[in-house]
């Protein structure tokens, strides 16, 4: 599946890099000289930085145009610690990873509020501020002349360098770090963290509804990418033994971004391939003399036109196409109460008590009142329908309960606790799951991954355990995978596990969204028009599914248009019109309520109109 195309390229590259210093012995000439060696080392260092940026841009979907500053920060931390404090190489290295990581976390803070170009501007500004400080704080950073005479790095007294005499040990150290970086990236992406990052990028709302603390996950992405940048910086410092601000300007930020895009952002091998290609390309470009910069611009444009997904990205697409072609897709029947669904439905509230209690809930947007003094009492283990015509305030009510909107007045309590003002992800972790009116799937993630995201809150493995893929992580991942597959069986989508969610037919998307919500092992399930766009058959099955869940003790709140589906499935019905409750009671009573019929069909008092009832 994903990443294979890159993996092949990656292994090739790694092998080539490993033998590169010794090519001379093979072809019996003076090659590579320290000139070529250093170019390759610089490329490897940039690749490390690019990998970090890829985690940020490609997976977390946050564009940074100030990455060079974090790269430079690492470089200067390493230089200053070695020069001014006499830190040994490794210690300095550690700090030049940690300090940028901390700064990166701070940089993430704006994402709480701003996104897109606004975030871009902040990162640009940060980069410019950084360079300005480097240049002007002469006493500390050496100003424009930078820091010179940085001592040669050593590990345990062993001199590091890229000369034959030292067996190119520094070269191999950098290569080692590069491979480590690739490994960490892979481990991260194939874990709940990576999934959460992509989820937050593809549908922030859905992510929040699945118990993901979007701010925290973005902060994580930022500091990881900053850490990588810092590492690259430190390695650069100990290679060049000279640093000044000019290496870390806005232009470098652009170049780094280009490396990611060129290789294929959001792919594992992308940044490495991108760096290799771009770096060699710029070497060729110098042949254009005074037109080299122009050539660079042309190259940049060409890449974006020809390979909008980047080299690896485009390759993967091709392969995926061919693969997708042959796989067969059986749509299973649903609900399919397979073995081992116990944990999913087990977490129910004790029957009889009020799972959800709404008291005079009112919601206003500026002038208009979407929800007006609504009272609701949803009993544990029941299916409670919330119906009403378009714009009656049903979804608004749902958004209040799930924490997306904060009620202007009134009180909402769930599982016996007042939850007014709690953010969605906290409520999700307490056991409230929801679906969205116009399905909010993670379009570019596979069907299986979508469900796995739903299990985010269940993981206990720490970040370190995850990155190092220690036993606990592997156990949990295996369990999660098993449960996810069970849930796909449950909704009959096993055949589509590897398919990108956005390619599913509409009805299947609804199924997937339900499976994903169930992955949260909710006590209270909020369904927002789950039947919209489903066929008769599918609606039948949906009814069975909802009933089944309720019978197993789950509480379900159902927002629907389809009156009679509601009659079929719900224990109690609350009818909203213009944000107010116009009826509340058992389905039978609702069905015959004239106010309800009018709200639905209108009372066309036009000539020759028979109101169906």
């Amino acid at each position: 599946m994903r990443g294979r195309a890159g993996l092949v390229l990656l292994l090739l590259l790694a092998a080539a890099l490993a033998v590169f210093p010794w090519v001379g012995d093979v072809i019996g000439e003076r090659f590579p000289t320290s000139y070529e060696l250093r170019l390759v080392m610089r490329a490897m260092i940039l690749a490390i930085v690019a990998i970090g940026l890829n985690i940020l841009v490609g997976y977390a979907g946050l564009v940074s145009l100030g990455q060079a500053a974090l790269y430079g920060l690492g470089a200067h931390v390493a230089a200053l610690l070695a020069l001014r404090a006499g830190f040994p190489f490794m210690a300095a290295l550690a700090f030049s990873v940690l300090i940028p990581a901390a700064v990166g976390a701070m940089l993430a803070f704006p994402t709480v509020r701003v996104r897109g170009v606004y975030l871009a501007v902040i990162t640009i500004a940060f980069g410019l501020v950084f360079v300005n400080i480097l240049r002007e704080w002469v006493g500390f950073t050496g100003g424009a002349s930078g820091l010179v005479g940085i001592p040669r790095p050593t590990i345990l007294g062993e001199r590091l360098g890229a000369t034959r005499a030292l067996n190119f040990n520094y070269y191999y150290l950098i290569l080692l770090f590069l491979l480590a970086a690739v490994g960490v990236q892979a481990a991260l992406v194939r874990s709940r963290y990576g999934r959460a990052m992509r989820a937050a990028a593809q549908s922030e709302n859905a992510a929040r509804a699945l118990g993901i603390n979007v701010v925290a996950i973005r902060t994580l992405a930022f500091s990881i990418s900053a850490g990588f940048a810092g590492l690259g910086g430190a390695l650069f410092t100990n290679l060049a033994l000279f640093v000044n601000y000019e290496t870390f300007t806005f232009t470098t930020s652009i170049e780094l971004l280009l490396m990611v895009i060129l290789g294929g952002s959001g792919t594992l091998a992308g940044p490495v391939v991108g760096t290799a290609v771009l770096f060699s390309a710029t070497q060729f470009l110098q042949g254009l003399g005074q037109w080299q910069t122009f050539g660079y611009g042309v190259l940049l444009a060409l890449v974006l036109f020809v390979l909008p997904r980047g080299i690896v990205g485009s390759l993967q697409r091709l392969m995926h196409r061919s693969v997708a072609a042959e796989t067969s897709r059986e749509t299973g029947h649903w609900p399919n109460w397979v073995e081992g669904l116990g944990p999913v439905t087990a977490r129910h509230d004790d029957a009889g008590q009020s799972t959800l209690l709404a008291r005079d809930v009112t919601l206003r947007f500026g002038g208009l009142t979407a929800v007006n003094a609504v009272n609701m009492d949803v009993r544990a283990g029941t299916v409670h329908a919330l119906i009403g015509p378009n714009g009656a305030g049903k979804s608004s009510m749902l958004n209040v309960v799930s924490g997306f909107y904060r009620a202007t007045s009134g009180e909402v309590s769930v599982f016996g606790e007042n939850v007014g003002g709690l953010p969605p992800y906290v409520l999700a972790r307490r056991g409230i799951a929801r679906t969205f009116q116009n399905t909010e799937l993670f379009g570019q993630m596979t069907v299986l991954e979508n469900v796995l995201v739903g299990q985010h809150p269940h993981f206990r493995a720490t970040f370190a355990e995850t990155v190092l893929r220690l036993p606990r992580f592997r156990r949990e991942e295996r369990a999660a995978l098993a449960e996810a597959r069970r849930l796909l069986d449950f909704v009959g989508l096993s055949g589509f596990a590897g398919e990108e969610a956005r390619n599913l037919p509409f009805g299947h998307q609804r199924r997937l969204e339900i499976a994903r919500a169930l992955a949260l092992r909710p006590k209270l399930l909020l369904l927002d028009e789950p039947a919209a766009g489903l066929t008769h058959g599918e609606i039948e099955d949906l009814v069975a599914l909802i009933r089944g869940l309720a019978d197993r003790g789950m509480t379900v709140v159902l927002v629907e248009h389809h009156v009679d589906m509601i009659m079929a499935v719900s224990d109690r019905v609350t009818v909203l019109d213009y944000g107010e409750v116009i009826a509340d009671g058992p389905p039978s009573a609702i069905q015959s309520n004239p106010k309800v019929i009018e709200a639905y069909f209108g009372n066309a008092k036009l000539p020759g109109v028979a109101v169906p009832a």
């Binding site: 803070f109 871009a120 501007v121 500004a125 300005n132 037109w291 910069t293 611009g297 969205f436």
Partner: protein, 291 residues
């Protein structure tokens, strides 16, 4: 006291340049929700173009007009070739990078042909400064605020009173609806970028006599203009120009009373803070998050 007057004067002229550029960004943004990220290079074309054409023997007004027209065409080309195809998907990284690519091409080709050094653009308005006590300003520089304010009102008139202007507002408000009343949204967007191109070149032409016309004259100003526009919220013409002028003055006061060396560090930090306080920009209105 004298000093403050000087800071206000030079700040006013410098700020007006930011304002004019921010105005261009605003025009592009409102039509396309995307911009030419390296708009500063179009600005540069105004100054450099005029100088080159004058060296070819054209009189100043003709040279300037031709340069501005040329820049307008460049603006349109950038939109059609480099922005439109990349403005489909939500994330802005596409058009940001493509327009950066164009910027690199424009600037480097100018450096290669026109040369790296600045050249004077002689106008009678930079020969003798107007003195106010111990401070002074060139008449040419006073043109800048005048131009900025004039451009703002002209633009507001255009948006409110003219058909094209209203069509442009319709497009920026809702492309689909605009199409449904028979407006060719793509055409309008193209036009917007052309107008912005002309506007930028106009600013470049006006400021060149004071700062010399060089291939790199637009880089920093362009970036600052963009930031100013964002800080203002790219919401309305007045807003961006006001913020532009204010930022210009602020810079001078920073230089005067804090530090000349750390001017940008302080200025940009200020911008970051402002963006954190007003995520939608000073004049931008927050939209309700739809769930």
């Amino acid at each position: 006291m004298e000093a403050i007057v000087q800071y206000l004067l030079t700040g006013l002229s410098a700020g007006s340049v930011y304002g004019l550029i921010a105005l261009g960004f605003y025009v592009m943004w409102s039509a396309a929700k995307a911009v030419n990220f390296t708009y500063g290079d179009v600005f540069m074309l105004g100054g450099v173009g005029t100088v080159v054409l004058m060296e070819l023997g054209l009189p100043l007004p003709v040279a300037a007009a031709t340069a501005i027209a040329g820049a307008a065409v460049v603006g349109a080309i950038v939109e059609r070739v480099f922005v439109r195809p990349f403005n489909r998907e939500a994330n802005s990284i596409g058009w940001m990078l493509t327009t950066i690519a164009v910027g690199i091409m424009i600037e480097s080709s100018t450096t290669a042909t026109y040369g790296p050094l600045g050249r004077p653009l002689p106008t009678p308005l930079v020969e003798h400064p107007i003195r106010i006590g111990g401070s002074g300003i060139y008449p040419q520089e006073l043109l800048l605020p005048v131009a900025a304010i004039a451009a703002t009102f002209a633009l507001e008139f255009f948006y409110k009173r003219t058909v094209l202007g209203r069509a442009m507002r319709a497009v920026s408000f809702n492309r689909v609806a605009a199409g449904l009343v028979g407006i060719d949204a793509d055409r309008i967007t193209l036009l917007a970028f052309a107008i912005a191109g002309g506007l930028g070149a106009f600013a470049g032409f006006l400021v060149a006599p004071v700062v010399q016309a060089s291939a790199s004259m637009g880089v920093i100003v362009g970036l600052k203009g963009f930031m100013v526009a964002i800080i203002a919220g790219i919401a309305n013409a007045r807003g961006v120009v006001i913020v532009g002028i204010l930022y210009g003055v602020a810079e001078k006061l920073i230089e005067g009373f804090l530090s000349t060396a750390a001017r940008d560090a302080i200025g940009f930090t200020l911008m970051i803070l402002l963006l954190l306080l007003f995520p939608q920009g000073l004049f931008g209105r927050a939209e309700v998050r739809k769930v």
